[in-house]
Amino acid sequence: MSNALTRRPELYTTYAQDMALLDTPAKRNSVAALAVAALTVPWLVVDPVLFLFAQGFALAIGAIGLNLVTGYAGQVSLGHAFFVAVGAYTAAALTGDTDTRFVGFGLQLVVGLPVAGLVAGLAGFVISPLASRLRGLYLAIVTLGLVFLGEHLWKEWRSLTGGLGAGRPGVVADVGGFRFDQPGEVFGVLMSSQQKMYYLCFALLVVFAVLARNLARSAVGRAFGAIRDRDVAAEVLGVPLAKYKSIAFTVSSAYAGIAGSLLYTLTSVIEPASFNLLMSVQYIAMILIGGVATISGSIAGAMFLGFLPFVTRQAPALFPWISTDPALRDGGFINVFQLEAILYGALIVAFLVLQPRGLFGLWVKVRNYWKGWPFSY
């Protein structure tokens, strides 16, 4: 009997098995393989590429956050860049040197990172009542206003941000004297800062992805879906809309805050002008390209967009009409930054029209194709 059951791994005998996160052997195996691959990458690729990975992981945390509020709960937010900024500045101020002209408290990253998440989450909680009053396009526009408000605030609050064009030093990744942002020996092995940061970002991504996945499969995640699809029916089932929209915004913003603090651990300067509409649009692009209302899609989308500049920066070598100079002094037709912006737009449109479920949907198609092979359906 037990033999017969073990030979049918997709037959569940308890509800706990049926509800498990990694419910099939295929999922368990592929996650294990991915984990092994992810752990070996730092020893296989060069530092600049490693940086892109680490940045991709940090972006993925932010993308998961946006997907919770926009993908799962259906509340379109263009304000994500604002919460990323709140997190970045909170962490930078908390971990920054006490004796520079910028606000700095000289605290450890173990304090800076969680508090950045908390402060950003709190900001999300404060603006969440807007979401229970507005919906759809109106909410999108109001959250967009948040980005403009933020841009002004960051420009003026010089002691915190350094002001336009100058910026302030990024987040200091110091944990009990162990510097993630500097090369050094770990258990007798010399590691570059990129290798260390890679592992830090990877570990945090795993933690936050699992937390988000748990939230999504819980009663809270179901309530998000109910609000997104039919809000009247949700209310009549006993789901208070305002409460769940507020939870969605709070958690989403906290994720943005964590992402912000990690991102500026990787880069040494925080430029206030970077928290603009384009940044919000990039996060939207990540979840649309990766897959709406999926955690793995958020990660895929973030990695995809994180590596996009790497690809476009190679373009000038191949096509002389693409310029590396923002002012096009070398006679190019467009510069790489414009090329990137155009690609974001083109990719969003292409995915929305051709593959609304994003990379995740594409993957499901491929998987089903191979499951059914050699039959096409």
Partner: protein
């Protein structure tokens, strides 16, 4: 199946609907309607299209606020309460035009019905330890009993949007049952169903009432069903109550016959079989006898 103890058996009525008035621009959808529902009772509301039946449900579940009158559920005045607060007290409902979450699976739809029993917060959910895990498993066990009861085992993991209409109607009933309600409101549970599906549904309604002892308010155009199942019937016309009483008496009531005939309907209510069961044709006065067309699936409740 998780059995609900009948709401304070022996105590007063489960529901008291007194002198309620609801107006929309130009129409009085509910015009001084009063009725009560007793513990364990199956109370039916009938009336031609546009009589105000669905509007009564919307007042009950807090979607519309009445202009006058009072509504008392389990002894509490619920006028002005938010729909989610009323649901949390144990009022469950199905909709005339199915309001399921099409993208979610049958399991998730039913699990949503359990929402009022969930006692863990989002932090616990993220950690998936202790309360979240135990309560999710308990909910799952509870909805599996409902899945068994409604004989929808084979559809468990399908997004409900892909399921046939008759099955969707069942899933929606299941979602309401998952709430372990203390009062169940059914808005045209057999509309658009064929004979076999109708008989299945009638069997489920009877079982809910007899085994689970949940009081039910039933709105239905299928006179045969109403006559067979209901303890008492209220007939409305243009928002006004015509009469309330035993099914056989209501059926014979001259005002009731006039309301149906006066509307130009070709159906004789007294001929107690599947009468006027089609509201898809829309307007009052459409000859509707005998047709079982499925109502065009429209979104939105009202």
């Amino acid at each position: 199946m998780a059995v609900v103890t009948p709401a304070g058996a022996g105590a007063g009525p489960v529901l008291e609907f007194s002198d309620v008035v609801l107006r929309f621009a130009g129409v009085t959808a509910i015009d001084r309607v009063s009725f009560t529902v007793d513990p364990g009772e199956l109370f039916a509301i009938i009336g031609p299209n546009g009589a105000g039946k669905t509007s009564i449900f919307n007042v009950l579940s807090g979607v519309y606020a009445p202009e006058a009158g009072s509504v008392s559920f389990l002894g509490t005045d619920i006028v002005g309460h938010k729909p989610h607060a009323i649901a949390a007290m144990g009022m469950a409902r199905t909709f005339q035009n199915i309001e399921l979450f099409e993208n979610l699976t049958v399991i998730d739809n039913l699990m949503l019905g359990r929402h009022r029993h969930i006692r863990y917060g989002w932090l616990s959910a993220m950690a998936w330890l202790g309360p979240a895990r135990t309560q999710e498993l308990a909910s799952r066990r509870a909805i599996e009993e409902i899945i068994d009861f409604l004989e929808i085992e084979q559809y468990r993991k399908y997004p409900v949007g892909l399921l046939p209409y008759g099955v969707q109607k069942r899933v929606e009933l299941g979602r309401a049952l998952a709430m372990e309600p203390r009062l169940l409101l059914l808005d045209e549970p057999v509309a658009g169903m064929n004979l076999e599906e109708t008989e299945d549904m009638a069997r489920f309604i009877l079982d809910i009432r007899e085994e689970l002892e949940i009081p039910i308010v039933l709105v239905e155009h299928d006179m045969g069903l109403v006559m067979d199942l209901a303890d008492r019937v209220l007939c409305l016309d243009f928002g006004k109550p015509l009469t309330t009483g035993k099914p056989s008496d209501v059926q014979q009531h001259p005002d009731v016959i006039a309301a149906y005939l006066g509307g130009g309907s070709a159906v004789d209510v007294a001929a107690s079989d599947a009468a006027a069961d089609d509201e898809a044709a829309g307007g009052r006065g459409e000859p509707t006898a005998g047709t079982h067309d499925r109502p065009a699936e429209t979104k939105g409740t009202r």
